[in-house]
C-alpha cells in the first residue's frame, strides 16, 4: 500500500514540479486524498490510476481509472476465471489492475442495495466481443470476496459442453452423464477460493457414495469436496451435492452466495459431445449442466446471480450474435426471464485515454508515435475503442 502511494507521489511530482508537498507531517490516507483532489483538479489529463483499492468504495468519480489488486488476493480469489490475456498481462506488469467502468459500477450499486429476503436477482452482462464482460465479472467477484460472500464461480460454461475426453454414465441417474475431469478441476479451484467456508458449512443430509463410503449428515462441506477431488469418479456428484447444499443453506442467512457464471449461454445451447453410438447429447443430459441450471433459477434467496454471455466459445452460433435473445435461444431466455440486462460497450473517450495512459506508464507502448495525438487517433480508429482489440494492437507496439 505504501509502496503504491510512493509511486503515485513520485508520478505526481513529475506532473507538477512546482507543487509543494508536505510529506512528512501528514498521515498517508489523508495525503492520498489530498493528492487526489489536488492533482485531479489541476492537471487536465485524465489520470489512469486511482488509489482506491476497495471495490466497495468505487463511485462515479473513479470511472475510467485503474485500481490495483494485490497479487496474493488474486491467487485466492481467482484460481480460475481470469481471461488468459489478462493473466499474461498480470505476469508482465507484475501487478493486476482493473479499470472501473460503468456497467460494473451499476452492478455494484445494485448489489449493495439487494434485499436478501427476496429471491436472488439475475444480472446478465452482454455486449460485443472484447468489450470487457469477463473482467467486469471479475470486478464484481472481487467486491463480493471482500464483502465475505461465498463465491460460486464457473469460469466458462462452454468448457463443460465441448471437448470432454471421458464421459461416464452417471451413477446417481442412469440417463445423465458425468464429466469427472472437469468436475474435479472445478472442485479444486472452488476449494482454493472458499477455504474458510468449507470448514463452517455443514451438510444437512446423508449422501451415499457407494456400498462402502458415505457422508453423514452434519459433516463439513469440506469433506464432500475432498471426496470429490480424491475420488474422481464421484466428482460430478460431489459438485451436485455442493450446489444443492449451498442453495438450501444460503436461504438460512448464514452466508451470502454469489453465483457467477461466465458463458452462461452454454447451458442452453448444443453440445459437441456424442454418445458411443454417435448420437448427440443434449445439455440437460450432462449432470453438471443440469445442476447448474437449477442453481441459476431464482427460487432461493440470500445472494445474487451474475451471468455473462459469450459468443467466443459458443457452439453453432453466428459470429455477430451478441444479444441475449440470439445467444440464449428461446429456451434459455425463458429460463432466465426475468433478468436485468447490463450492456457492456466499448470505451468512451475518457476510458480510452486512461487505458493508453496506463500502458504508457507501464512502458508497454514503445513506439515513438504512441505518445503523440496522431498515434492515439490511429489506435482509436484501428481498435474503434474496443478494449480487446486495443489490447491486441498494443501488444505489437
Amino acid at each position: 500500500m505504501l509502496k503504491g502511494m510512493r509511486r503515485l507521489i513520485s508520478k505526481v511530482h513529475k506532473l507538477d514540479p512546482g507543487h509543494v508537498l508536505h510529506m512528512g507531517t501528514q498521515a498517508p490516507q489523508s495525503l492520498a486524498a489530498h493528492l487526489d483532489s489536488q492533482v485531479s483538479g489541476q492537471s487536465p489529463r485524465a489520470i489512469s490510476r486511482t488509489s482506491e483499492n476497495d471495490p466497495a468504495k468505487h463511485e462515479e468519480q473513479h470511472e475510467g481509472q485503474h485500481y490495483s489488486l494485490p497479487l496474493q488476493d488474486m491467487k485466492t480469489i481467482f484460481p480460475h476465471g481470469l481471461p488468459p490475456r489478462f493473466v499474461m498481462q498480470m505476469k508482465t506488469f507484475n501487478e493486476a489492475c482493473l479499470m472501473v467502468r460503468k456497467p460494473a459500477l451499476e452492478l455494484l450499486h445494485h448489489l449493495k442495495n439487494t434485499n436478501f429476503d427476496h429471491p436472488a436477482v439475475r444480472y446478465v452482462l452482454y455486449g460485443e466481443k472484447g468489450t470487457g464482460k469477463t473482467l467486469s465479472l471479475c470486478h464484481i467477484i472481487h467486491f463480493c470476496a471482500k464483502q465475505d460472500w461465498l463465491i460460486l464461480h464457473i469460469p466458462d460454461g462452454h468448457l463443460w459442453v465441448k471437448n470432454c475426453q471421458d464421459l461416464l454414465q452417471s451413477t446417481y441417474n442412469k440417463q445423465r452423464f458425468d464429466q469427472p475431469l472437469e468436475a474435479s478441476v472445478w472442485l479444486k479451484n472452488f476449494k482454493t477460493a472458499n477455504e474458510r467456508f468449507l470448514s463452517q458449512i455443514k451438510i444437512q443430509e446423508k449422501y451415499v457414495w457407494n456400498k462402502r463410503e458415505s457422508v453423514e449428515k452434519g459433516s463439513l462441506l469440506g469433506e464432500v469436496v475432498e471426496q470429490g477431488i480424491t475420488r474422481v469418479r464421484n466428482a460430478t456428484d460431489a459438485v451436485g451435492i455442493v450446489l444443492k447444499e449451498l442453495k438450501r443453506q444460503s436461504s438460512l442467512g448464514i452466508f451470502r452466495l454469489l453465483v457467477a457464471v461466465d458463458g452462461v449461454n452454454a447451458l442452453w445451447g448444443r453440445t459437441t459431445l456424442k454418445r458411443e453410438d454417435k448420437s448427440p447429447i443434449a445439455p440437460e443430459e450432462l449432470a453438471l449442466i443440469y445442476n447448474l441450471r437449477k442453481m441459476v433459477k431464482n427460487d432461493w434467496h440470500g445472494g445474487a446471480i451474475v451471468l455473462t454471455l459469450s459468443q467466443t466459445g459458443s457452439l453453432f452460433k453466428p459470429r455477430r450474435a451478441c444479444l441475449p435473445q440470439e445467444l440464449l435461444g428461446k429456451e434459455g431466455f425463458d429460463a432466465l426471464d426475468p433478468f436485468i440486462p447490463i450492456l457492456v460497450s466499448n470505451y468512451n473517450p475518457k476510458e480510452f485515454e486512461s487505458c493508453i495512459q496506463y500502458y504508457l506508464e507501464n512502458s508497454w507502448l514503445q513506439h515513438e508515435k504512441a505518445h503523440t495525438e496522431e498515434g492515439k487517433k490511429e489506435l482509436l480508429f484501428l481498435s474503434n475503442a474496443n478494449p480487446g482489440q486495443l489490447e491486441r494492437l498494443c501488444a505489437y507496439l
Binding site: 460485443e128 459470429r319 496522431e374 487517433k377 490511429e378 482509436l380 480508429f381 481498435s383 474503434n384 494492437l393
Partner: protein, 396 residues
Amino acid sequence: MAASCVSCCAALSCRLFLGGRVNLARRQVLWKAAAAELQTVFGSQILRLRHTTVVTTKKNVASLRCETYTVDFIKKQIEEFNLGKRHLANMMGEDPETFTQEDIDRAIAYLFPSGLFEKRARPIMKHPEQIFPKQKATQWGEDGRPFHFLFYTGKQSYYSLMHDAYGKLLNLEKHKNELQAKGLFSEEAKTKDLIGSRWLIKEELEEMLVEKLSDQDYAQFIRLLERLLTLQCGAAEKEFLQSFRRSVTIQSKKQLIEPVQYDEQGMAFSTSEGKRKSAKAEAVVYEHGSGRIKVNGIDYLLYFPVTQDREQLMFPFHFLDRLGKHDVTCTVSGGGRSAQAGAIRLAMARALCSFVTEEEVEWMRQAGLLTVDPRIRERKKPGQEGARRKFTWKKR
C-alpha cells in the same frame, strides 16, 4: 501510276516497286536481246515482272526465297478492296462515295458477329497497305548490279537518309557563312513548331525505312536532326524536319471531383464508388462527424475483424490527417474481404476529394489512393496446374 509513284517517293525510292525499276531501267544499258521489248513504256511493267519470275539466276534466288507479295498481287488486292467497299456500302444502304474505314468496321462487326475474346482474331476488312507488311523490292537488276549506290553498306535507306540530311546541313552552313560574310546574317527567334511534338522513336524510323537499325544508328540520326534544328532553316528543311516529328498528346491529369451534396438536415456529404477485383463499393462521406464507419449497416470493427482491412480503411483519412472528423456509411458487395476493403478505400478517397484542396487531391493521386488497382486474378493456362505453377516435374 508509275509517274506519280516516282514523284512522291523521291528520297526513299526503294519503297514502291515500280518507281526505282522504271528509273533505273531507262538509265541502264540493255544487255539482253529481249531488252528491245523494254523500249515500249506500257507493258514494260508486265514484261519486267515476267522476266523476274521466269529468269531464276543465282542472284535472284535469294529474293525468291522469302515470300514476296508482288506488285501485281498488291494492286489486285487494292482493286478488290475498293470494289468490296462499294459492295459493302450498297449492302448497308449507305453512299459508296463517303464510306469511311469506321463505317467498314461497323458494317463488318454487324455482318460477322464474333464471340472471340481476342480482338485481333475477329474478322477485319482493311486496306491492303495495312494488312500486308511492307517489303523491300529486289535491290539489284538481273545483271546482279544493285540499284542504289549505298547498297553495299547494308542499310542503304538509313545511310542515304543520313547522307541527305548531312548534305542539307552543309548547305545551310554554307548559306549562313555567305550571309555572315555579307553581313546580312540575323539571329531569328526559335520557332514554336516543336512544342507538343517529339522525335519519332526507333520503331517508327525502322518502319519508315523498312530496315533494321541499331540503337547507335538511331541516336546518331537524332543528333544530326538536332544539329539541323540549331541552324536557321528554309521552308523545305522545315518540312523535312517535320516529317520526323510526331505530336504528343498531353494527358489531362484532372481528377473528376464529386460535387458536395446536402441532405435534409443540412449536413454536407459526398458519394462515390470504388472497385477492386470483383468487389464494388459505394461510400457516403459526411463532412462533420466523429469517425464512425458503418459497412452494410454493420460497424466496421465487426465487419472487418482483421486489422489489415481496418488499416486499409484508415489510409485515406490518416494521409489527410482527418482521422476523427468524418462519418462514413458504405455498402459493398462481391469480392473477398481484402478486395472489399480495397474497394471501400478507393470509394472513400474519391469522396474525400470534394472536401479537400486541389493540392491535397494531387498528393492523394500521387500516393495511389485514387487509382483503380488493375490487378485481376490471372487465368489458368492449359498444361499447367495454375496460372504459374507447373505440374510436378518427373524425371522419368
